[in-house]
Symmetry: C2
Subunit: 337 residues, 2 copies
DNA sequence: TCCCCCTGCTAAAAGCATTTAGCAAATGCA
DNA sequence: TGCATTTGCTAAATGCTTTTAGCAGGGGGA
């Protein structure tokens, strides 16, 4: 507890050199003219004392903290968005940075506090992460460090990392086609406002565009579009139940895995088998998807990749937004052709 | 970008006082003899310049960084363990601290790096969080700051925060009793090694003890104990299916919600209704539990409370471990008596 | 009047690493 | 030998805040 930290001065003293020399050697400066002997002595001294630089002192001098702040509205309400953190953490570690995480609940006051707390600590960059992709509120403070928007956008900060929803939407439809299904497809989770990008998420609007484009390209049309606000299992269950009563579909294209989960429940209850009687495709690759029987084929949200990429863009001071590929995760909810 | 930070010296200059005065006033020192006038001037100057102290410089001088490190093996593999982070984040925010999060994947080399990175930044405390409660590997480095173990234990650091599994185990059985069920109960997810505390988690061993104690107290005995290593839905499904074929239980006590999920699938397939034909109780309060139909009654893992409490113990330099109550979450998988 | 204490404030050091400017000795070249 | 370079290294300044030690002036008591 009381053992004093070992400082650069201690190392220098033990090596019989100046702190200047020690500093230059330990930070690995290229063009210094210090002798090989000096290098050896300093390294030996540092090792024997177990020297570790005081990052605060270094940050004070260099204005680089090797710290980045990850400010999100909700870390893990969707357990799933935590993939964003995991990825970012991995990216930070790879770049020998360390990550401060702050949660704001989407409340402006807490957002301000979070940004201030981060800036006070001289972070090298800010990542604003949103649980649901949308226009993110960024407090109107002077921010003088690189900033990237993760799973969201901001008029003020152009560099963002988003899933490539358009392509993802296309893929879902292509999957259906490849399974030999070209009609009797029901869209589950439609919502006009969302589709228009008015609410919740512009990126989901792009998902719709991709779906519509692919449908058109294949000259397909939905048998029905079942609309609801929240995309929770309960809604998926109810809508699917009603649909089955009206007319049995050949396939259900669900806007997320939780809806698909509800659809499975309704199908099971009606004695319909997946995929023989009704095929299902979905979006997200929620952990759920692997629990279902049969496993759910879904277009994954590449959260972990996105998080990692956000850090990379941040540290390379990129200036353009980036779209991350949505992987197709094939499990068993589509018939093999 | 180039706008220089405003420093304490700037504030002092504008206020027409020394930096000493400004510092004392802004940090709210109690026994200073500075005039009310001086206070007013300094505060006015600070406000008008938008002064924010440089935390690195302050940390350098005071050795207090208002930073705590959250070092975990896996943040969110179980999406669920991320509740630990959420709680800790909330606790840190309440205490005006900020949290560094580091992930180690349980690899010793990364653990060492993580601890060093944290210590280099003069964190005020360390939280070692484990995804699964167990004896946690803590690298053998000199650690001279308060440390608490979260959802795990360590011989070296006695203060830990764990769920009260013994009581939780009892509660599960009591729930069955209260629903009028006293026989025909199958235990799903037993495992002799785990029960003996030899592997994975000592706290799960305590859960078993609680279950056994309550069973004995109620003079009940399991109809069968179905054992498996991994507690995933697939295993729950298989074991339940076999059990149904052999003899239909009145209730299934599942060691976690994922097993219960599998049990539901097998039950549905066999045309058995929950809870009329077969009741189910479980542990964890995974998000899954609310998706099932009917909702799963389960003994919740209080991750968020635990995270918050860990920070509180850390900052109060507590010296004793603490058990956090496991809430019973009643949904619809038990019959109303 | 002299001494002491209180009030209100400040100069300077400390905390630790990086960096600029520059010194002394050795070497190279003519 | 004499001058310019190069080599190998260091003193001191810098970044910003906190804290210690202490100064100047006014008032009170003896």
């Amino acid at each position: 507890m009381t053992k004093k930290r070992v400082t650069l001065a201690d190392v220098a003293r033990l090596a019989g050199l100046s702190t200047t020399a020690a500093s230059m050697i330990l930070t690995g400066r290229p063009d210094t003219r210090l002798s090989a002997d000096a290098h050896a002595k300093v390294h030996a001294a540092a090792a024997s004392l177990g020297y570790r630089p005081n990052v605060a002192a270094r940050a004070l001098r260099t204005d680089k903290s090797r710290l980045i702040a990850f400010i999100s509205d909700y870390v893990a309400t969707t357990r799933f968005a935590s993939g964003l953190i995991r990825g970012a953490l991995a990216g930070a570690e790879a770049a020998k940075h360390v990550m401060l995480v702050l949660e704001t609940g989407g409340e402006p006051a807490r957002e301000i506090q979070a940004v201030e707390a981060a800036l006070d600590r001289q972070v090298d960059g800010l990542i604003f992460a949103a649980m649901r992709a949308r226009e993110v509120f960024v407090p109107d403070l002077p921010i003088n460090v690189p900033t990237v928007m993760l799973n969201g956008t901001s008029a003020r900060f152009p560099v963002s990392v988003l899933p490539d929803e358009y392509r993802g939407g296309q893929r879902a439809v292509e999957l259906l086609r490849a399974a030999g299904i070209s009609d009797g497809v029901v869209l589950l989770g439609h919502n006009a406002e969302v589709e228009a990008g008015l609410f919740r998420s512009e990126t989901i609007a792009r998902r719709f565009e991709g779906i519509r484009a692919a449908m058109q390209a294949a000259d397909m049309r939905f048998m029905a579009e079942l609309s609801c606000w929240n995309w929770e299992p309960g809604h998926g269950y109810e809508l699917t139940r009603k649909q089955i009563k009206a007319a049995r579909p050949r396939a259900i294209l669900c806007l997320n895995d939780r809806l698909a989960f509800g659809a499975y429940q309704a199908l099971a209850e009606a004695g319909l088998r997946v995929p023989e009687d009704v095929a299902v495709v979905s979006f997200d690759n929620d952990e759920l998807a692997s629990y279902l029987r049969p496993g759910l084929t879904t277009i994954g949200l590449p959260h972990e990749d996105m998080g990692r990429r956000a850090v990379e863009l941040l540290l390379s001071e990129a200036s353009a937004p980036e779209l991350i590929e949505m992987p197709v995760i094939e499990r068993g909810s589509l018939p093999r052709p």
